[in-house]
Amino acid sequence: MTRPFSTRRILSWAGLALAGAIALSAGLYFGGSADRGSGADLRGKDAAALFGVALPDTKGREQSIGQWKGKLLVVNFWATWCVPCREEMPEFVKAQQEFGQRGLQFVGIAIDDTAKVEAFAAELGLNYPALIGGYGAIELSRSFGNRLGALPFTIVVDRAGRISHTQLGPIKEAQLRAIISQLL
């Protein structure tokens, strides 16, 4: 909050807004409705709008989600102020460790500030990218079916670049294992 807006930051916001608008119009086009709950509407749809998003990592380097196209991609919106988010992340770390070589890639988008994210990442031993989204990323998640704008919210994109699953609330370990064994 104290950091002044840089051009890069403004550009990344513009990117977020554009991606959001594309995803939203895609959702509307395919008959999806933002108030039917999250998930089902976007399943099987192309994740291009998500691949178009670029956000800074904790070192301030711009990271495009598109660089992980072709992986089984799990994009998790989270925050340090969200206890259920923090509680499910050790499972993600474990799965990243176990299946990363075979093409599983977790990416966290934190609705938070860099210092807190870095502190928590160090404490947890986070082994996948943590991107800094700020509150604008909540709007991005809404465009993928997060009707309430709450956390955690997770989008699973299969290796063909289609959204296979979206979920508001923690993913249980058994469910995560099922997704991995089905899609990896």
Binding site: G37, S38, G39, A40, A79, T80, W81, C82, V83, P84, C85, R86, I111, F120, E123, Y135, I138, L148, G149, A150, L151, P152, H165, Q167, L168, G169, P170, K172, Q175
Partner: protein
Amino acid sequence: MKSSIVGTLTSALVALTFCSSVAGAEPKLLEPERAFALSVQAVDEKTVEVRFAIAHGYYLYREKMKFAVEPAVLASPPQLPPGALKDDPFFGTVETYRGRFALRLPLASVEPGLKVTVKAESQGCADAGVCYPPQVQSVTVALPAPGGRPGAPVAATPARKSWFN
């Protein structure tokens, strides 16, 4: 006729139940403005009372509460009631509110009859396993004359829409 309606309703219910179970394990959740319902009452010519009614299964973080009143200044910092202590492995001890809580905001440099807008920022979670980002709710109330009757409590969110009106 009656039985066919009942039959239709039953199959609709079965279909709904089936759909929701297929859709996944998503908890049924309230919109944040309903989970954390705010109302404000002007109690005298220079005091407003802020009340939160928190739905069962939801809680707010005490240290995330922020208040502002426009166009006025607070005569003293908000005195939030103590919350329940909760140990957070990352943030240490935090205080949370459940159910109802209220606090009075003393206002400086206001005139009787002035309309003031109370802005309350809060952040909370549901026991079902989600947290909401901070939300700001606003309520505008008119301050009564000195010695006058307190105003009626005003809710930030309009009452739930009913099928019958």
